[in-house]
Chain length 255, copies 4
């Protein structure tokens, strides 16, 4: 069970809903993933335009927890405004804070992310900030009271996987709230590796929506998260430099 | 479907049967893995000692294809002798050729592996050689007529995963017979990565039998192989250096 | 030439002076490195205790630029106090800002580092902050007016080298002030790689002072920085997946 | 000193002479590298065409040991024929055995390389085989009596660096003759890393001849080999998972 604030979820895979080729593929991929939590950018909602097509129109939204995010915000104030808009429209009180600091890398701005998280916590939101893998930044976000920490594996949409497993390890080691690895996942083994490092969940979008067969990839990611979590819980064999010699330490300078 | 010679298998996970803490764990792990093929060292069989405990005594062997291997052989002649012993005792005519050239690294001897494979093919065996990831050696084994190629991810029992994905890629790219990544797998993400590279199957043993919870790890590996195969078939997103810029090539000099 | 604020230096290798086995080794290693800039923790100076041994007693300090750092500070205020103490004792007006946020990993605190840098810039210091490899944090430090940015390769003293070359690349790509890779360097190839990524300099200490032969390692690091800088300026060959085929892009999904 | 058979060399950098943009650049790069050993393909010599331009025409060949190689050979017999041609034309009795098994990857054929080496040793040559990083193949080549072993870092001309440091480590660990890492080097840090692993030398060509500034890259490679060798001899600090905690082993499962 993944527990975030007062909520519990069976699935540890969080799925973004953007960039699918069509609504039908989106629907089937969401179902194949067996996710419990769907994320989406509030700015893409047609809240005040009921005659516009709903971006989740084929999905039975009652079966999922909808996790709105503040994508598009470049300052804390914009993020807060977007979050309030989401709440006003009757969505869940959980909010994924996303304050981007650079249009080229889409990496998060640490200062605005901290400020936005603090302001939203004061407003009573359940706050899940998307952050870099800066270890002390993650600690500060937790100390503010954030309900989960969402460090990126690599920049959004790059598919580069976990570039810095060391920082993800440190963040998980120190965290007392759930750590959900977010952004940059490219293939199932990336998702599995995040879980093997001890992450509580994985959030991904492009890896599925941009795959040649999005539905099959969604299913593969479901298995990957199970595989990685199982591997973490099962307790891996130690890495060794030689199978038949007792010098594990040496390996450190070779690989 | 994984096809090796005249045989077809639903599962792409091949499981070794050695080094489990007890027969009960072995049995449960085998079941949890949903494997179709069990490998074991012929020298561990008590063929001529019917009063000795059977090393697979709790397993319903009729449900599996038993793939004997020639572990313990240091020459082609020894490997052939072991293979014939297996056949004589009524086992499958498939044989995993394993001729180790070094007691410290347990890496295979290329010359004896080639010779043993050639001799066993002449005897009518279905031959699956365990080999290094030497690309031209794999090609020669295929040209001899081997029915599958089994390159190691890293040395047996080390849990280091796929040290050289480039060679595994080359071997898969050139092969017309199945490629089964064998040895060195440590965690589910390693198995998933092998499958994402396009491998037809993964063979592992210590990663499961040596895990703190072998049964849970067996189940995790099952999901990992499904995840990796699904990811391969689904067609991954390309890796990019920047999400929002069109310069994928640059990445080559950075990562 | 490495230019930091109003200063210019021939060497791109900055050397820390701590943790050497003895003053004689320290002296010889400093000379072998051919560095122009020596860093040290202000708190280790015996400014008000002239009868105590000087921690640089064998070094002809007039030949070097002394770059004091604020190691030991956990808040911006402590860092500022330490920097002022250094200035008051007649040292250079350059200061390396180091505000550690975690005793276990010795990683820098982003918020206090930003605050300390801002306060010290207001006081007229030439400010070089030691920071994580958070890309947007580095950008903010530069926007404040910092004279160089010093992202860590990996945590202080770990010898793990450049764990995240992607972030170092992004930081260098966006920076208009010098980027000096600081902390975590273990071997000469790590230093060379930092320079190949386009860094303007490398700062290291433990890799030399903790080596079995510190003087020889200092000399090796000198060559490594020259090698890496030369490689960067010379323009490397592109990475290719096959020597004799024109599909460089494919490589992205393999390695 | 690098000792190969009866010969000794000051430089541990072996330089190939092919693919330079012009003879002048070739000459200057050779000088900048401070190499003692130049390699070249015998088939490129104009031995019987004295009126043709000499491919080394600007180089004072008396200052170097010329190491001919058998590039172009696809069988042992071709390699032997080429080697004899080189000897007949008055070149050094050292020969680099190069028998390529695949036009796409340019990887060596293990069986023909073994055969060629055996035949050339019987003829009294000083034999240096270019081989894959197959550990047992390297051992067999040494057992035949080869005077040095030359495992590839990655395929010729790819610039991918040392893809499998584990195998290079094993080969060096077991070898009693010099190990010279050959092929695939892209940047100075690759050459330094090879030397840090304990290699006796590095052979490269395209990394220099194909660089935008070949002369500067040649100089950078010279420093890189010195840096890496110095780092190896100086004895590196151990890699640690935390600077301030005593759990080096843990690191094995993270990185």
């Amino acid at each position: 069970m993944l527990k975030i604030g007062p909520y519990s979820f069976h699935s540890r895979l969080l799925l973004g809903t953007g960039k699918f080729p069509d609504f039908d593929t989106q629907k089937k991929a969401v179902e194949a993933s067996e996710t419990d939590i769907l994320t989406f950018a509030v700015r893409r909602m047609n809240i005040f335009e009921p005659d516009q097509p709903n971006f989740l129109e084929k999905i039975d939204v009652k079966k999922y927890t909808l996790l709105p995010n503040t994508a598009g915000a470049k300052t804390a104030e914009e993020a807060v405004r977007i979050a309030k808009l989401a709440k006003a429209s009757g969505l869940c009180d959980m909010i994924k804070v996303e304050v981007i600091g650079c249009d080229k890398t889409l990496l998060p701005d640490p200062v605005e992310t901290l400020r936005a998280s603090e302001m939203l916590l004061a407003e009573g939101f359940i706050v899940l900030p998307y952050t870099s893998d800066d270890v002390l930044l993650a600690k500060r976000l937790e100390e503010l009271g954030c309900h989960a920490i969402m460090p990126g594996a690599s920049p959004i949409g790059t598919g580069l996987g976990i570039v810095n497993p060391l920082n993800i390890h440190y963040i998980i080691e120190q965290a007392k709230v759930p750590v959900i690895v977010d952004a940059g996942i490219g293939v199932p083994s990336d998702a599995a590796k995040a879980m093997e490092l001890g992450a509580d969940g994985v959030l991904l979008n492009t890896a599925v929506s941009g795959a040649q067969d999005a539905v099959k990839m969604a299913q593969a990611m479901k298995h990957a998260v199970w595989a990685g979590r199982g591997g973490f819980e099962a307790g891996r064999i130690p890495k060794k430099l030689h199978a038949n010699a007792s010098s594990p330490l040496e390996g450190m300078s070779v690989l």
